[in-house]
């Protein structure tokens, strides 16, 4: 009989899903009903509602982490290109993504954009879609284009399953993802309120489970985790409350997240797996589904470096809002090496934070970074300095 607490049982399950680079959970889901299909997607955002409405499983691809030995993938990339595409190629070439019937490559940066073409060349039997999203936020311009792109994806997925996707199916899927987003919002609010009860290393794993589980199951898992985490008191430390930003694509190793926490920081907000909370509130599920998805994207979505901000005044507002609403005391910029969007965005955000007297620090990582001592020292010093400042 297991003696570990419910919260640790949940975390162990999520850890197992996280460690499983062979996507066994996806294979298992597919094997339950013949003919089921799974569609992969890369960061930052795709409308998973469409995949769900087609009866397919959407699967987040976030690279190979620090457990995958990249051999073939390195032969496709120069040393000055970030790590996520090479480990993704490795996953593909070693057959670990064979269970995916297609992959969506959202508009995020030149590297992921070009990876879509590489996928077209390397995996000719798979569905590959570069999913463009508008950088113009006027409904009649960018919105119209986006709805057309959504229509194309909807048609493609409909053809793959052999029947068009209806509005009713889409609205049902919107409800499912509204629930999921609400659960994730609750999780983030809970962590911000009691970060000692829900360490980010755990929250991260729970979130990450949503990359391979059906959304209904993930929603349930998130709610179970919140309840289980709240049931067992954990020691509260005098940590600094920080927002971590810049990790919206290539993921840091789990050990890095743990290191930041061990160094004396509570991460109270972040930009991990933004797909789970890109749309900031509920999408109305009783109207024209594509129009509603478009409006939510254009007017009520998160901000990241891959998204254009139409005026200078908007720069940093989203981050400042994270700081304010989560009562954070500082910001950690953690960006993957060679990540143009995150690294070019960083000086502007730092400037805004400086003007608002929000302390910040910055470092780079790769998904396979192994040396945590420097990160721990830097984050620890940052936490100490925050505590000193706030005391003063």
């Amino acid at each position: 009989m297991s003696t570990i607490s419910p919260v640790l049982q949940i975390v162990e399950r999520c850890q197992a899903l996280f460690d499983d680079l062979d996507l066994s959970a996806v294979k298992e889901w597919k094997s339950k009903v013949p003919g089921r299909k799974a569609i992969g997607y890369l960061p930052v955002y795709v409308p998973r509602e469409l995949v769900h409405a087609a009866g397919m499983l959407s699967v987040g691809i976030l690279g190979g982490g620090d457990q995958l030995e990249v051999i073939q993938g390195d032969a496709y990339y120069q040393s000055y290109i970030c790590r996520i595409p090479r480990s993704t190629i490795e996953l593909g070439l070693t057959g670990r993504l064979d269970c995916l019937d297609g992959v969506l490559f959202p508009s995020i940066c030149d590297v992921i954009r070009n990876l879509s073409g590489m996928w077209q060349l390397l995996f000719k039997d798979k569905y590959v879609k570069y999913f463009d999203v508008p950088q113009n936020y006027v409904d009649s311009i960018g919105g119209t284009f986006y709805i057309q792109e959504l229509e194309i994806l909807r048609d493609d997925l409909g053809k793959m399953r052999g029947a068009p996707i209806t509005d009713a199916e889409l609205n049902a899927s919107i409800r499912v993802f509204n629930d999921n987003r609400a659960a994730v919002r609750d999780l983030y609010a809970y962590r911000a309120a009691k970060p000692w009860q829900a360490p980010t290393a755990e929250v991260y794993l729970v979130l990450r489970a949503g990359m391979v589980l059906p959304p209904e199951e993930h929603t349930e898992l998130v709610r179970e985790y919140i309840a289980a985490a709240d049931a067992v008191p954990r020691p509260k430390r005098d940590n600094a409350r920080v927002v971590l930003t810049g990790a919206f694509c290539e993921q840091p190793p789990l050990a890095l997240i743990k290191s930041i926490e061990m160094s004396g920081c509570y991460i109270v907000d972040d930009d991990f797996m933004l797909v789970t909370r890109w749309l900031l509130d509920d999408v109305p599920p009783d109207a024209n589904p594509l129009e509603e998805l478009s409006k939510a994207f254009l007017h009520r979505s998160a901000t990241t470096a891959a998204k254009y901000e139409t005026t200078r005044e908007e720069k940093g507002v989203f981050l400042l809002n994270q700081v304010k609403t989560r009562a954070a005391e500082g910001v950690i910029f953690a960006a993957p090496s060679f990540c143009d969007p995150a690294l070019l965005e960083r000086p502007m955000l730092q400037d805004v934070l400086g003007k608002h007297k929000v302390p910040h620090t910055a470092f780079k990582y790769a998904e396979n970074t192994g040396q945590m001592a420097p990160i721990r020292e830097q984050a620890g010093t940052f936490a100490d300095s925050i505590k000193l400042w706030s005391a003063a």
């Binding site: 073409g117 879609k129 143009d340 690294l343 070019l344």
Partner: protein, 467 residues
Amino acid sequence: MTTTAAMPASPKQPTEATQGRSQVSSPPSGGGAPQSGGPGGPRPVQKEDAMWLQKELINRNYHELATAHQTGRKVSATFVPGNLNELLMCFDFARSLPETNALQNGMRKKSGKMIMDAERDGQSEDVCTYVKADLGMMMGGEIGPTGEVLPKPDILLLSYTGCFTFMKWFELIRHKYGCETVMLHVPYQGEGRIAPNMREYVVKQLKETVIPTLERISGVKFDIDRLRQYMRESAKAEEDLVAVLQSAKNRPSPIDGYFGAVYYIGPIFTAFRGMPEASEYYRVLRQEIEQRVREGKGPITPDGEMGEEKYRLVVEGPPNWTSFRDFWKMFYDEGAVVVASTYSKVGGVYDFGFRHDPDHPLESLADYCLGCYTNLNLPSRVDMICKYIDEYQADGLLINSIKSCNSFSAGQLLILREVEKRTGKPAAFIETDLVDPRYFSAANVRNRLESYFQMVKAKRVAAAAAH
């Protein structure tokens, strides 16, 4: 992303007199007095030379930029891919292209300090060096390539074509200097074609966002007939440019389609497309190149006429600017001529039929933006390179991979494999940077090139033996 670049302000190459005229295929100097020199000593440059025309154009443009605000003109800045020059001219903007400024500073050996200044100001060592050179130039007082102070732009036309970094670049400039920015989002050709909704989206942005903004900033009302007239000029120049670039199908090639072509594309990719002066430049250029074809001559290099043409190459990727002449010399010293390059299509792909169309002006501007080289997906890029290798009877492909430019560089190693597989021709890979002198290792590049030329030779011998 990297783009081209008008007329590197280079220098010191000789101009070869042929039938009383200097050759336009000599790279022009962008600013200052006309250069002469070389092994044969100083030679006069004659006025009717297309090189002169280009020099006049670029000097005049920099001067117009420098004096724009004094003369009541507004200043625009935009990027080379998706450069809507004809449209900007409709509003009387003086026109600046930050990529061009960065590369000019690279060729003048000034960019290293600018990049380090930008890094000291908080920019990461990992990111695009064009951006950092531009930011560094601003920090240093915005002294332009001709020595005149360039003004702060009144409008940044963010033609978001084929490069994500463009967006961050102009956001950075806007953040630092408060310039107004107008976005033109150009969808990527992910499926290798322009879908109707992509074109409609671009046209709609032009009509409802870009043009009204340009009208407001400039105070000039948009006149579509004026746009049509500029586009008529553009089409003429494009026709002549294509003839020049395709002259490399001859043996020997009368031009170098990479090192030489960066000069040829200068006016059309930057602030001059649509101007009668640009059309005239390309008319004269074409005449001169056709004359070289009739005379069976090879390209002009900075050291004069190139010797025997031994290798014909296709090159993918932008050049290095900080050691441009040394880089080129490594080719012509070995008798290698580049017969076609993808970089010379970065500001517009014209050799597969696209021309600016005055009868459908906005749709045509959209197609122009959508069709720029780095807006094409990887399979399309592979197809284009294979076609070049075939049509230009090239011996192989050389990829110059640029550290700064993910738009070009991500995926190039797969391009290399695919092209080798499809054509059976050898391919090689070198790595440099655009304007960061720290990333140009002459010895490494030379070694790689020498090995590559030997490989080409060995392949030839093997092929001859097989027949």
